[in-house]
Symmetry: C2
Subunit: 305 residues, 2 copies
Amino acid sequence: MGQGEEALHDIFRNSFRGGKGLSGPGSDCARLKPPSGVATLQTVDQLIEGVHAELGTPWTTLARKLLRRTLSDLAAVGARPWAVSWTIAAPASASQSRLKRMAQAFLAEANAFGCAVVGGDLSQSPHLVLTCTATGLEGRRRAPGRSGARPGDWLLVTGRLGGAVQSGRHLRPEPRLTEGTRLNQTYRPRAMMDLSDGLATDLPRLLRASGVGAQIQLNDLPLHPEATKATGHERWQCALAEGEDYELLIALPARRARMALTDPVLLRTGLTQIGTVTEGNSLVWLDGQTPLRAKFKGWTYSWKS
Amino acid sequence: MGQGEEALHDIFRNSFRGGKGLSGPGSDCARLKPPSGVATLQTVDQLIEGVHAELGTPWTTLARKLLRRTLSDLAAVGARPWAVSWTIAAPASASQSRLKRMAQAFLAEANAFGCAVVGGDLSQSPHLVLTCTATGLEGRRRAPGRSGARPGDWLLVTGRLGGAVQSGRHLRPEPRLTEGTRLNQTYRPRAMMDLSDGLATDLPRLLRASGVGAQIQLNDLPLHPEATKATGHERWQCALAEGEDYELLIALPARRARMALTDPVLLRTGLTQIGTVTEGNSLVWLDGQTPLRAKFKGWTYSWKS
């Protein structure tokens, strides 16, 4: 038997602490039994060396980032992290100790977020590809999804946007779990999602799903200090198009939005109105009263047709 | 917005048929609400071009294989397929139509197995890496796992072993879902798992988890016709070490094993006793009465220490 593979499996078997309703590694499947009548929320994310993080980034950092960006999707639906599985495809040239350190970093990070690592798969590939499947427990209220935004709703974001790479935040994103739960349970958003590809890419997804348009007031964007170092339009480009913010974007009716804007739990992280939902399907970027003709383009992949 | 990415997401959104308790693509998370009190069983698997299938294999074939080998893990715990998510990391050089065909093949195959595709993630990477997370619903009886085999138990396998690559079966594995459910519910196995890396790698995993040894009668191995083309020890090497059989390995007390061996549902696929569980921790391969000194080595990865 290959020591490498079994030794790594052992790390997981030995460190597994079955939570309530969970049994994990060592079988062909993990068993997840949610409390009676409770829905689970599931998401899957990838982290590819050289694509989602620069080559040369420590693998321990990549493993933590993988977990955190996956949990950001649970935050977007107000779910509580419960169980994660992951896959590792690593080059044969990697040392076992490097893989072990990565596995231990992932485990420690999962524990810190209160979720059990219930399964995984290990393979070889020419370069490092990690994926993570996270399962959360639904809160008292069903998540809104992206399709419920209505004209007149206010658009808000948590935290600050832009400069994720320059500030190093992109390597250690902060899943807005507390905020997502608070927003969902207390203010009943019409729509909510997390910003991973930049507002300029993610907002149109929400608008499209809801069949609405929006006006965004660029001067109201809460800029991260790194983004404020840029000047003029460059600042906005930073805040809208770089991606990796992992903040929440929320559509709320005006009255509930005003209440949320004074909620001390949410103010700790920051909550800012950036615009409003409109009829139609156009997205207008405003500089004061002036509609901007510039197009912003967030992160997206394309393949030749 | 990159047409490529959104167009592919659209395939999933438009083809999604929410089953009972499921809502899927178009949100940050899929929502899975199992019937009250029913546990879910979850597994994740990878398929890497050039590792799990020869370079040049059609991507539609890879997508189907990915699904089928993941469902094989559900078969091993007697679960009914319910929902799957997957990830695609594909080279930028791939054409969109190639990706679309792959996605459609995956969807069609999932539908054929009665499971909804509830989510996924799309990214770019230097070469094709696919992963699949499958969630099944537990049957009336909890799955045995791998750790319950006891001395005196009979060891059985479904179907036939060996020659998976030569026969082309490795590209279209048959998850033993009917058999897994039948075995689990009717015969209460002490341990059960699926054979993906070859009996010589997988059996030791079961023995180790159960803290037992085994004697395997090589002449009793149910050989696939492709494996019978080899001669002498080569046949056994074929059946034990090549992997990709995706048959079930079961440990059953003798009396229940005898009953299972006459079950018409199981006989359709074939069920064969190949050995018995023993005290201790040694695995003995027998050629008639003669213990073989040869070591068989199934598929496993190793990394340098």
